[in-house]
C-alpha cells in the first residue's frame, strides 16, 4: 500500500475514535457510555493504548479503590498513555476515581502513589458530624470560581451527584475550578487546567445539567 493511502486509511480509523472511554476494570462504565450515546456522541470503551492515544478526546472514569485502579492501569500498560494524552493537549475529562488517580498520591488503601498528572493528593473525609455519612453519596452543589467552556450554560451553585469517600486536594490552587462542602471539608469538586478537566461528581448521573457538561466536553477544543 502506498504511504499516502496508508495515511488516509489511518485517518479514517482515527475519525471513528472520537471519544475514548478508558476501561481499566475500575467499575461500571455502562452509564457513561449510555449518557454519551443518548447525546448522539460516538464513544468507544477501550483499554487499547493505541486507541486512547489516537482519540480526539479522552474520558477517564472509574469507581472503586485507588490501589486496585493503579494496579490495573499498570497491568494494562495505560499509565504512560494517560500522561501523554494530557501532555499533548487532548481534551481530557476525569470522573470520580478518574479525578483522583491523576494526583501524585492518595491516602486510600494505606497510601497509593498515583499518576502524578496533577500536583497534590487525595485525602480521606474525617467527619465530626454523624449526619455526614461516608461515602458522600447524593446530590450536592458546586461553587464555581470562574468560567470554563465545560460549564457553558450551567449556572453556578448547580447540583450534581456525588459518590466518594476521598476527595482531591490539589497543591496548586490554579487547578481548582469549583468547590463543594461536605463533612467539614471544602474540597475541589472540579479541577481544570489547560486541556485537563476532572469532576469528583458523576456528570452521567447528574440529570440534564450533567448531560450538558458532557455535551460541552464533546465540542471543547481543550483551551480555557
Amino acid at each position: 500500500m502506498p504511504e499516502f493511502e496508508r495515511l488516509r486509511w489511518w485517518d479514517t480509523l482515527r475519525e471513528h475514535v472520537v471519544i475514548a472511554i478508558v476501561d481499566y476494570r475500575a467499575g461500571n462504565l455502562t452509564s457513561v457510555r449510555l449518557a454519551l450515546e443518548h447525546l448522539g456522541l460516538p464513544a468507544r470503551v477501550t483499554h487499547e493504548p493505541g486507541e486512547i492515544a489516537a482519540a480526539e478526546r479522552v474520558i477517564f472514569p472509574g469507581v472503586g479503590a485507588a490501589g486496585s485502579a493503579m494496579n490495573n492501569l499498570a497491568e494494562l500498560g495505560l499509565t504512560d498513555v494517560l500522561r501523554d494524552v494530557v501532555e499533548r493537549g487532548t481534551p481530557f475529562l476525569g470522573i470520580c476515581l478518574g479525578a483522583q488517580v491523576i494526583f501524585e498520591h492518595s491516602e486510600e488503601d494505606g497510601g497509593v502513589d498515583c499518576l502524578s498528572i496533577v500536583p497534590g493528593k487525595v485525602r480521606k473525609f474525617t467527619p465530626s458530624d454523624p449526619l455526614c455519612k461516608i461515602p458522600h453519596m447524593g446530590w450536592n452543589t458546586i461553587d464555581l470560581r470562574g468560567t470554563h467552556p465545560l460549564f457553558e450554560g450551567i449556572e453556578n451553585e448547580s447540583e450534581f451527584y456525588f459518590v466518594h469517600s476521598y476527595y482531591p486536594a490539589p497543591s496548586d490552587p490554579s487547578y481548582i475550578l469549583a468547590e463543594t462542602e461536605y463533612a467539614g471539608a471544602r474540597f475541589a469538586s472540579v479541577l481544570a487546567k489547560d486541556n485537563l478537566a476532572a469532576t469528583q461528581f458523576h456528570p452521567e448521573r447528574s440529570g440534564r445539567i450533567g448531560l450538558r457538561l458532557l455535551e460541552n466536553f464533546s465540542t471543547w477544543d481543550g483551551s480555557c
Binding site: 455519612k133 461515602p135 461536605y182
Partner: protein, 253 residues
C-alpha cells in the same frame, strides 16, 4: 454540611410492567416502566428504584431488558431490587446500567454475599432492603421478614441492620410490612433506630401518603425518601413535595 435529601420514586415491576402492591398482595397495573422513569426524572426525582416482584426465570430476562432501557432513558442514579439471588445476578443488573442493586432475602440467608458484593462493586452500589414488622418480644421491637414479607425470621431488625452495616454497604432500606401501601406514614421508630445505629444511608420506605410523612422521615434520620403509590397516583407531586420540604428547611435539589 450534609448531602441533599433525595426523593426516590419506586416502580414495582412484574413481567416488565409497573404495578403497585398494597399490603404486599393487591396489585394494580400502572404502565410502562421506561415512560414512568422518564416522567419521574422530568418531575425532579433525584434517584429511582425498580423493584422486580416477578418470580420466574423468563421474568428475569425481561427485567434486564427493562434495566437496559431505563439506563438509556434516565440520567439520575437508579437502584434495582428483587430476584438478585447471588453476586452474578447483581453483576448482570449493574452491567445492564443500574447504579445500585438492592438485596433482601438472599442476603439474609447468605450474609457473605453482601461482603462479596461490596468488594466487587463498591459500598455505594449495594443496598440491603429489610422488610420488618413489629414484634414486641425482640429488643428493638422489630423483626426481619423475608420472601416478600411472607416468612418471619425471628431476627431483630436493628441487630440485622447493624450487621449489614458492618459489611460497609451504602444504603439500608427498611420497609415496614404494616405501613407499606397503607399511606398512613413511614414507620418512624424503625427509621430512627436504624439511622442512629448505622453509618449507611437509611432509605425511608413504605407508608408515605401525605407531604408531612416525608418531613417526618427526614426528622427521623432518613436521607433518601422512597415512595410508590403517592407518586404513582399523583397524590403527592415531586415538585410540590420539594417545595414543601424546602419551606421547612430541608436541603433538597
Amino acid at each position: 454540611m450534609a448531602a441533599k435529601i433525595s426523593i426516590m420514586p419506586c416502580l414495582d415491576m412484574q413481567n416488565g410492567r409497573v404495578v403497585k402492591g398494597v399490603h404486599f398482595v393487591d396489585i394494580r397495573d400502572a404502565g410502562d416502566p421506561v415512560e414512568c422513569a422518564r416522567a419521574y426524572c422530568a418531575a425532579g426525582a433525584d434517584e429511582l428504584a425498580l423493584l422486580d416482584i416477578t418470580a420466574t426465570v423468563e421474568g428475569r430476562a425481561t427485567m434486564l431488558d427493562v434495566v437496559r432501557r431505563t439506563a438509556d432513558a434516565v440520567s439520575v442514579p437508579f437502584t434495582v431490587g428483587g430476584g438478585i439471588i447471588d453476586v452474578a445476578a447483581a453483576e448482570a443488573v449493574l452491567n445492564a446500567g443500574a447504579d445500585k442493586v438492592s438485596v433482601s432475602s438472599a442476603a439474609f440467608r447468605n450474609p457473605d454475599m453482601i461482603r462479596d458484593m461490596v468488594d466487587a462493586f463498591g459500598a455505594e452500589a449495594v443496598t440491603v432492603a429489610i422488610d420488618v414488622d413489629r414484634n414486641s418480644e425482640l429488643p428493638s421491637g422489630y423483626e426481619v421478614y423475608i420472601d416478600g414479607g411472607r416468612t418471619a425470621t425471628g431476627a431483630d431488625a436493628v441487630e440485622w441492620a447493624k450487621r449489614v452495616d458492618g459489611f460497609g454497604v451504602g444504603c439500608i432500606l427498611p420497609t415496614s410490612k404494616a405501613g407499606d401501601g397503607a399511606k398512613t406514614g413511614y414507620d418512624l421508630p424503625v427509621i430512627r433506630a436504624m439511622a442512629t445505629a448505622v453509618n449507611a444511608a437509611v432509605v425511608a420506605s413504605g407508608g408515605a401518603g401525605r407531604l408531612e410523612h416525608f418531613y417526618e422521615a427526614v426528622e427521623a434520620g432518613a436521607t433518601i425518601l422512597l415512595a410508590a403509590s403517592v407518586f404513582h397516583f399523583n397524590i403527592v407531586g415531586i415538585p410540590e413535595l420539594k417545595r414543601y420540604l424546602k419551606e421547612r428547611g430541608v436541603d433538597v435539589r
